[in-house]
């Protein structure tokens, strides 16, 4: 029998966005509702496509402090699916383990299956009295699950399409915590037809033949990190004669994160730079087709405008004027940060032979880079001018780490800029 089903994961309903700077009041509401709205979009898409069933592979909520609003939104969404005749299957992951946190939902609607934590359960999807598919799944009891749960999955003797639903780190992804770590071979050993995985926020197909193994990625990007950028959504899987014949990605997100680089070479002044930023924002808005976009701009390369930006703080010189310009043109793009990674027009290497203070400044940097002792001494003598008590609680030991080569290079440019500025 031929059918379609949807695979989503990592909803993180009502999860606060992180890594962004504070936003305009107009965007606050959009951000607040973004995760729940993305889930609403998932429900609407499933109903519109009349899929046979929906599987959700963990991390529905962000932590034990799951909010009432998020739980109600989730319950109501699944209820709508059930009333449309679409069963749904849910496992819990490391962010919303069953035994941690609390549940505002005492009874799930009919047609909603939440897998337990004791063992891998197998639940059939029945249509017109005929078993369409079997869904295998298990939830996390607690946050830290180090057991390879994939090894517990075994194909059922019944001859129908079989799906494995699991929250895990498959293939030792270094960017994510190693919860329920497993290998591709472990997954193959179960002899299922499709592995609906969750945990990795970046969408990826680990295998594109039987069994198809896929991470749909998070349903809504949650921070400006690379793995959270770009389109987010769910997968629609076509099954023909018990074989996966195609996997389609359906974007369902409400807010997107993006970053663009602008090479400052050839930009004559700050006004020109603002024009380029607005142009980049326009392109971004076009790419994301009218969705709200949180955009970061990184300035790179060498150019004369680098010097102009040193005349004040980049926030006042570039970021705020650019935000004002965008507010007047494209309201869907919010400029989060403008990072200045640009360099002065002249090459630092060219300073070495000049024999002046700048040359010796460069030489000082060379000495510093060559000497770990000097770097440590730098921390001891110069990096302890802050009220560090609370900062340490928030930022960890970021203050105490030795300056990196990049930091020293940027500091050198900053020092040279100040010297030149005074000159």
């Amino acid at each position: 029998m031929n059918f379609q089903f949807m695979h989503a994961a990592d909803l993180h309903l009502d999860t606060p966005f992180s890594g962004m700077h504070r936003v305009d009041a107009s965007l606050v509401e959009t951000l607040r509702d973004a995760t729940t709205q993305a889930f609403e979009n998932l429900v609407a898409a499933a109903i519109e496509r009349s899929v046979a069933f929906v599987v959700i592979a963990g991390d529905i909520y962000d932590g034990p402090d799951r909010g009432v609003r998020a739980q109600l939104a989730f319950r109501n969404g699944l209820d709508r699916l059930a009333r449309s005749g679409i069963p749904s299957f849910v496992v819990h992951g490391n962010h919303d383990p069953v035994e941690e946190g609390w549940s505002a939902v005492r009874k799930w609607p009919d047609g909603v299956s939440v897998f337990g934590t004791e063992e891998v359960s197998v639940i059939p999807v029945v249509r017109n009295g005929q078993t369409l598919a079997l869904v295998h799944g298990i939830s996390y009891p607690r946050r830290a699950v180090s057991e390879n749960l994939a090894l517990r999955f075994r194909r059922n003797p019944e001859a129908c399409f079989q799906v494995g639903l699991l929250h895990c780190n498959a293939g030792a992804n270094a960017d994510h915590a190693a919860y329920s770590p497993c290998s591709i071979e472990d997954l193959l050993a179960s002899n299922l037809d499709y592995w609906a995985l969750g945990h990795v926020h970046l969408r990826q197909n680990l295998r594109e033949s039987r069994p198809w193994i896929a991470y749909p990625g998070s349903l809504q990007g949650l921070s400006p990190k690379p793995s959270e950028r770009g389109a987010k959504g769910a997968l629609v899987i076509d099954v023909v004669e018990q074989l996966v014949t195609g996997v389609e990605f359906v974007p369902l997100d409400v807010v997107r994160f993006d970053e663009v680089e602008i090479d400052i070479a050839g930009i004559p002044d700050v006004i020109g730079l603002l024009d380029r930023i607005v142009e980049a924002a326009l392109n971004t808005a076009e790419v994301h087709m009218g969705r709200a976009v949180v955009l970061r701009v990184a300035l790179t390369g060498r150019g004369i405008v680098h010097q102009d930006m040193r005349r004040g703080h980049i926030r006042d010189l570039v970021l705020n004027p650019a935000r004002a310009a965008l507010a007047a043109t494209i309201k869907t793009v919010w400029l989060d940060v403008v990072k200045d990674r640009s360099s002065p027009e002249s090459d630092i290497e060219s300073l070495r032979g000049r024999g002046d203070f700048a040359a010796d400044l460069v030489e000082t940097v060379d000495l510093l880079l060559d000497s770990p002792e000097k770097r440590s001494a730098l921390i001891a003598t110069h990096l302890h001018g802050l009220p560090t008590g609370e900062l340490r609680r928030l930022l960890g030991d970021a203050l105490d780490v030795e300056p990196t080569a990049d930091e020293i290079r940027l500091a050198l440019e900053m020092a040279l800029d100040r010297i030149t500025e005074i000159e």
């Binding site: 966005f17 504070r22 607040r32 940060v337 400044l361 009220p387 100040r418």
Partner: protein
């Protein structure tokens, strides 16, 4: 930069004091006390950097002896002169540049090599007082400027850069005070508080939501009841509103049925009848009026008579009359012309001879005085003038050229003689080569000095390196000792918990704090829940009691109802009412029909009486038609017989037909009334019969209805009304009884509902107590708290105070740990420092070795190479050894002088040659000019001869000149115009006389044609024409009137004919209307039309009623229901039901509004809670603030690293650059003190001097004179270093040698003189022996003396060493 002079307009004691031509080297200004030396020093400082104003405590030196406060300095830079002018008034600064352009303060700043006022005051221009203060050299500005000059080149300052970095860094984060990180941290604390609060509030959400849902259900239920009641209300409204229309329609339908037999006539027939009648009358009146009009016109036409003889000459008379005006004008003109002609002819005869002998009027007429002729004469004049002018110009040119040529020749002779007398010189190339050699030699000498100094400095560095290596080693040992001491202190300190343990405790405290807050909230909720349960129980009891009392009320009212008298059922009463109403209508109809029957019978009797009076005529109206048909048949028969050739029969048939026609015509005049009377009677009979039938039918049905009401016979109206009233009373009683029954039933339902509600409330109360989630949550929380409390060593549930006590204890531990960590961090830093010090020691030792080898391998070799190269160049100038700078400059000056003289000589030779060439060319020009002059004179004479010939040939007087020719031509032209005027007068006079004669002839010819007598008098002719014209006009008027009346008559006749036709048409129209109505006359027609209209009106009423009903009820099933119900006609019942509905609505509406309000309030509370519990938004902002803090931190780190980089580099510079200044200072100081002190060492706050015996002495401890010598040397060294890196500036000192002993003063003077080639030196003194000292050491020393009585001073010329004044 060099100072070349000044002009003080007014400054302290100085007034109009000018000095110019100051040279390089040393200049001594000698003057007694109060001569103005200190003022001069202040003036130089002020002119360069601005005078002190009143805001500063510095002395301002107002002009005591007049003049404007200020003046100007003359300075030279790069061999260009600048004038710096500055006065004390604002904006009075100017800098005049070599090209005359005006410069700015910035340009002056650049001239001064970027030095500022403070640096200049402390290093370059100072008094004795300032010399004595070492502090002046420690001023940060001085240090900065000196070291900054060494550090980052002209004008840069690493210290300023550090200051800015520090400022930026502190703006982001600092230990105390406001900064960005503090602001962010405060916001973060607020957000975390909000977050905790929001999470705590979120627990109330499910309960609120449930309450909201219940209220929603309640308001929906009441809303449904309300909607039902409104629907009923609308239905009853529809019934009651539709009833009048329904009733009216019923009535109209009945009346319509009575007129069913009346024929339908067209709607407009009445109108057409009226119109036809009016038309008949109008046309008759119009015909009569038109006949009268025709008669009147015919009479007026016959009265008009015309004259044919006058009409024949009418055109001629008009033409002649139109010419009368011209004839009169011409007659007057002939008289005027005669007079003017005579006068003009006489004047011309007198003027013609004045033009010349033999000139007559005929001569004037033929002379050519045209414009071309005048132009030819003008051309002659121009050519003669040009020729004459050319001759004169050539004469002047010849004279001028001759004079110039003579002057050039004289100048050439004079300069040639001078050249021959001049002395011989070397050639230019030789001199240029020598000059180039001097230029090459200068930098060589400077380089030599430099490499020698470097060699000396390197030697000094070697000793410094050795010393610094020792110091580094000692530092390392000191740091090791300190490190050991602090490490042992840490080891001996008491044991502390681990940071992890502290973190666990802190987390435990935080969790417990939150949990305790939640527990408190849980307890509050629990109390609230119990209270709610009690409230609910109370409400249930109240509901039960309310239900019991309502049940008692029901029983009571049931009994009353049962005891009441029996009343027929509502349907029975309604049926009776309907029957009574129907009976009432039937009786009314019977009355109407009976009245109609009586009227019809009366009419029939009247008609019968009329018929009897007109008895003879009983022929039916149809007979006439039958006779006409028979005649027609006979005519046809006759025609057929004729065709068949049966003539006799045809003739008989024709005779019979004619007889029939005659009879028919005879009958048509008398038989119509009789026929009409018979038909009317029959119609009346039919009508009476119909009415009788309908009355009997109605009577039967009425009786049947009366029987239903219990009457044996038809009741009269009063009986019927009594019956109706009785039925009304019964109906109201029935309604009252039904309402009571309904109210009892409603009460019964309400009791049931109240009991069910009470049961539900009781169940809710039980649920609230039994399924108490809050209680469970409180228990769970307590369990969690107990678990967590164990972490903090609490045996039982802790109180908030105990927890806070524990938290303080944990914080204390954490602080101690942090202190220890900082101490350990400091120890680690000391370790790093120790390592660094050891590394430094090793590096310095290596540096010592490197420097030692560098001296032998580099510096010495460079010195010898430099010396050899210098000697090689010096030999090209004829010098055998390395020359002294003064020697070289002397040689350079001589070569410069020789080069200048050589160039002047070469320019003079070129000038003499050029003069010679000019004189030769002048002579040639003079000769060529004279030849041209002779040719031009000949051409001029030939032109004059041609002019005379032309005059003769054109009739002009010989004496005529071109310039007077135009005047002669004008005279001739004026005379000729007068002659032309005379001729035209004569021609005009002749023409007018001919015209007058022709006119008279024409007039009299016309007069004859109308029979008037002929005459030749012109004046009479004009009268004749006037008379004829009047007669012609009168005749034409008559003819026009006749034509107009004729046309009018024609139109009137035509109109009369039309009116006759219209009369016939109107009569026909009237007849056709009567025929259409089937009426015999106008009255009959009107009656028929009225009945038809009544029928139409009734049909319209039915339609309109139906239309209104439809518009009120619409169509469809609901409307059908209403219509069905309307047929019953139970209006009173509807009224009663409507009243009930209204009551129901009035009761339910407030209930519904209240329910809605409570539901809305609940929704708002829920929304408010959701807003307050907007954890996502708060948490997102918290994350954003943390991100911003992280960014601020990164930025802060970058700034700190940048600051560290600049500081490290700057320290290195201070270490590496300082020796150069100190070395120079030590060298000079050692020389002054004859080696008593040989070197210097700087400290953070001062300088130590190293004596020959190796002892070290603070400079502040030196004697006054020795300290001043040290500070003088230090300033000289700083100035030299500054000059090396930027611009050498003049060194100005005011009496700085007074405390030196003679020996040291002499050696100081030697040092100053040695520095003078690099720095211009100005020394102010009041001691003549100081002047003597400098002059004895260097005879080229310039001396300027100033007295207390000031005046303008010119310095001594270069070849005079001393000038005293």
């Amino acid at each position: 930069m060099r100072l070349r002079g000044w002009h003080v307009e007014g400054f302290g004691l100085l007034h109009d004091f000018q000095v110019e031509g100051l040279s390089d080297g040393v200049t001594v200004v000698l003057g007694p006390n109060e001569a103005g030396k200190t003022s001069l020093l202040a003036f130089i400082r002020g002119a360069l950097f601005g005078y002190p104003d009143r805001r500063r405590r510095d002395r301002q030196y107002p002009p005591l002896r007049g003049g404007r406060h200020g003046g100007r300095l003359f300075v030279e830079s790069d061999q260009s002169m600048f004038v710096v002018e500055r006065f004390a008034s604002p904006s009075s600064f100017s800098l005049t540049q070599p090209d005359g352009a005006v410069g700015t303060e910035a340009d002056l700043h650049q001239l001064l090599g970027g030095v500022d006022a403070e640096l200049h005051r402390n290093v370059f221009a100072f008094s004795l007082t300032e010399l004595q203060e070492f502090a002046s050299l420690q001023v940060e500005g001085v240090r900065d400027r000196i070291f900054a000059a060494g550090v980052v080149g002209a004008g840069r300052s690493a210290r300023v850069a550090i200051g800015r970095l520090v400022s930026q860094r502190e703006e982001i984060g600092r230990r105390r005070g406001d900064c960005r990180i503090t602001t962010l941290r405060n916001r973060l604390r607020e957000l975390e508080e909000l977050l905790r609060d929001a999470k705590a509030r979120a627990t109330r959400h499910p309960e609120l939501r449930r309450a909201t849902d219940e209220l929603d259900e309640e308001q929906r239920r009441i809303g449904r009841d309300l909607a039902d009641a409104r629907r009923d209300m609308a239905h009853l409204d529809a019934l009651l509103t539709a009833w009048p229309d329904w009733d009216e329609r019923e009535q109209a339908e009945k009346e319509f049925e009575l007129l069913a037999d009346v024929p339908d006539l067209p709607n407009d027939l009445g109108t057409r009848l009226e119109s036809a009648l009016a038309d008949v009358r109008t046309q008759g009146d119009r015909h009569k009026a038109r006949e009268e009009s025709v008669f009147n016109l015919e009479r007026r036409l016959s009265d008009l008579r015309t004259d044919e003889q006058v009409a024949a000459v009418a055109q001629d008379v008009k033409r002649l009359a139109s010419q009368i005006g011209n004839i009169r004008t011409w007659r007057a003109r002939v008289g005027t012309l005669n007079t003017q002609y005579d006068v003009l002819q006489k004047r011309l005869a007198d003027e013609a001879p004045r033009l010349g002998p033999g000139w007559t009027l005929n001569s004037v007429r033929v002379f050519d005085a045209s414009i071309p002729a005048a132009q030819v004469i003008a051309d002659w004049g121009e050519r003669l003038d040009e020729s004459n002018q050319a001759v004169r110009e050539l004469e002047d040119e010849a004279r001028r050229s001759d004079s110039n040529t003579k002057e050039l020749a004289d100048e050439w002779s004079r300069r040639l003689e001078a050249l021959k007398r001049a002395s011989p010189l070397d050639d230019l190339q030789t001199l240029s080569e020598r000059d180039a050699a001097v230029r090459r030699l200068r930098p060589r000498l400077a380089l030599l000095v430099q490499v020698r100094a470097e060699l000396q400095a390197a030697t000094q560095r070697v000793s410094d390196a050795s010393r610094r290596a020792d110091a580094a080693k000692a530092d390392a040992e000191r740091i090791d000792a300190e490190m050991e001491q602090r490490s042992s202190a840490i080891r001996n300190s008491p044991e502390l918990p681990t940071p992890d343990q502290i973190a666990i405790w802190e987390r435990g405290v935080r969790d417990l704090r939150t949990a305790l807050a939640e527990l408190a909230a849980g307890h509050a909720d629990l109390r609230a829940a119990n209270q709610r349960a009690l409230d609910v129980e109370e409400r249930a009891t109240e509901a039960e009691q309310s239900a019991a009392s309502a049940a008692a009320e029901i029983d009571r009212r049931d009994k009353i109802l049962a005891e009441a008298n029996s009343v027929p059922e509502a349907e029975v009463i309604s049926s009776g009412e309907r029957t009574a109403r129907e009976l009432r209508r039937r009786l009314a109809d019977l009355d109407v029909l009976s009245r109609d029957l009586r009227v019809a019978q009366d009419r029939r009797a009247d008609r019968q009486r009329d018929d009897q009076l007109r008895a003879p005529a009983l022929v039916m109206p149809g007979l006439k038609r039958k006779i006409a048909v028979a005649v027609g048949v006979l005519v046809v028969l006759a025609v057929v017989l004729l065709i068949l050739s049966q003539v006799a029969a045809a003739v008989v048939a024709i005779v019979v037909a004619i007889a029939g026609m005659v009879i028919a015509f005879a009958l048509s005049g008398v038989t119509t009334p009789a026929a009409d009377g018979s038909a009317g009677t029959a119609e009346a009979d039919r009508n009476i019969q119909e009415l009788s039938d309908r009355i009997s039918l109605l009577n039967e049905s009425a009786k049947s209805l009366a029987a239903k009401l219990g009457f044996s016979e038809l009741p009269d109206r009063a009986e019927l009304e009594d019956t109706v009233d009785m039925l009304g009373v019964q109906y109201r009683a029935r309604q009252e009884r039904d309402r009571e029954a309904s109210a009892i039933e409603q009460l019964r339902v309400a009791v049931e509902q109240t009991r069910a509600r009470a049961a539900q409330i009781t169940k809710l109360a039980r649920d609230a107590q039994g399924d108490n989630a809050v209680s469970q949550r409180v228990c769970e929380l307590e369990a969690v708290i107990l678990t967590n409390a164990k972490v903090l060593a609490f045996a039982e549930l802790p109180t908030v105070a105990a927890l806070e006590e524990k938290a303080a204890e944990v914080r204390e531990f954490a602080d101690k740990i942090r202190e220890r960590e900082m101490e350990m961090s400091a120890v680690r830093a000391l370790e790093h420092e120790s390592t660094r010090a050891r590394n430094l020691s090793v590096r310095l030792e290596k540096e010592f070795m490197d420097l030692t080898s560098d001296i032998t391998s580099n510096h010495k070799v460079r010195v010898s190479e430099c010396e050899e190269a210098t000697i090689a160049i010096a030999r090209t100038l004829g010098l055998l050894e390395i020359p002294e700078p003064a020697e070289l400059e002397e040689a350079a000056k001589q070569i410069d002088d020789q080069l200048r003289v050589r160039r002047d000589r070469d320019r003079e030779v070129e000038l003499v040659e050029a003069l010679r060439r000019s004189a030769d060319a002048g002579r040639t020009v003079v000769e060529e000019t004279l030849a041209t002059l002779a040719t031009r004179r000949e051409e001029h004479e030939l032109l004059r001869a041609n002019w005379s010939t032309w005059k003769a040939s054109n009739g002009c007087p010989e004496a005529l000149r071109p310039e007077t020719a135009l005047q002669f031509f004008a005279s001739v032209e004026r005379l000729r115009e007068s002659v032309g005027q005379l001729d035209s007068m004569a021609a005009e006079r002749t023409k007018i006389q001919t015209e007058l004669s022709d006119y008279s002839e024409n007039v009299f010819t016309v007069a004859e044609r109308v029979g008037l007598p002929r005459t030749s008098e012109l004046a009479l002719a004009e009268d004749v024409v006037e008379g004829l014209r009047e007669r012609v006009e009168a005749d034409a008027g008559l003819r026009v009137e006749r034509t107009r009346i004729g046309s009018e008559l024609e139109r009137a006749r035509h109109a009369l004919a039309n009116t006759e036709r219209d009369c016939v048409t109107a009569a026909n129209t009237f007849d056709s209307v009567l025929f259409e109505a089937g009426a015999v006359d106008e009255r009959d027609c009107r009656a028929r039309i009225d009945k038809s209209r009544l029928k139409v009106d009734l049909a319209k009423r039915v339609q309109e009623s139906e239309y209104r009903l439809r518009s009120r009820l619409g169509i469809g099933p609901q409307a059908d229901v209403v219509r069905t119900e309307l047929r019953s006609g139970e209006r009173q019942e509807w009224d009663a039901r409507k009243s009930d509905c209204k009551g129901m609505l009035a009761r339910s509406q407030p209930l519904h509004e209240d329910a809605l309000r409570r539901h809305q309030t609940a929704i708002e509370s829920l929304s408010a809670l959701e807003r307050e519990c907007d954890v996502v938004t708060i948490a997102t902002e918290r994350e954003a603030v943390v991100a911003e803090m992280r960014d601020a931190m990164s930025e802060w780190r970058l700034l700190a690293i940048a600051q560290s980089l600049v500081q490290s580099t700057l320290r290195r510079y201070e270490v590496e650059r300082q020796p150069a200044v100190l070395t120079r200072t030590a060298s000079s100081f050692s020389r002054i003190t004859e080696g008593r002190y040989h070197s210097l060492v700087t400290r953070e706050d001062g300088i130590d001097v190293i004596a020959a015996d190796g002892s070290r002495l603070d400079a502040a401890a030196l004697s006054r004179g020795t300290a001043e010598q040290l500070y003088l040397c230090l300033r000289l060294a700083l100035a030299a270093e500054f000059g090396r890196l930027s611009v050498p500036l003049p060194f100005v000192m005011d009496d700085v040698l007074v405390n030196f002993d003679p020996e040291r003063a002499k050696r100081a003077a030697e040092i100053l003189l040695a520095a003078a080639p690099d720095h211009q030196i100005l020394l102010f003194t009041c001691h003549p022996e100081t002047v003597d000292l400098f002059v004895s050491l260097d005879s080229s020393t310039r001396v300027i003396e100033i007295q207390r009585q000031l005046r303008k001073v010119i310095p001594n010329p270069p070849d005079t060493a001393v000038q005293r004044s």
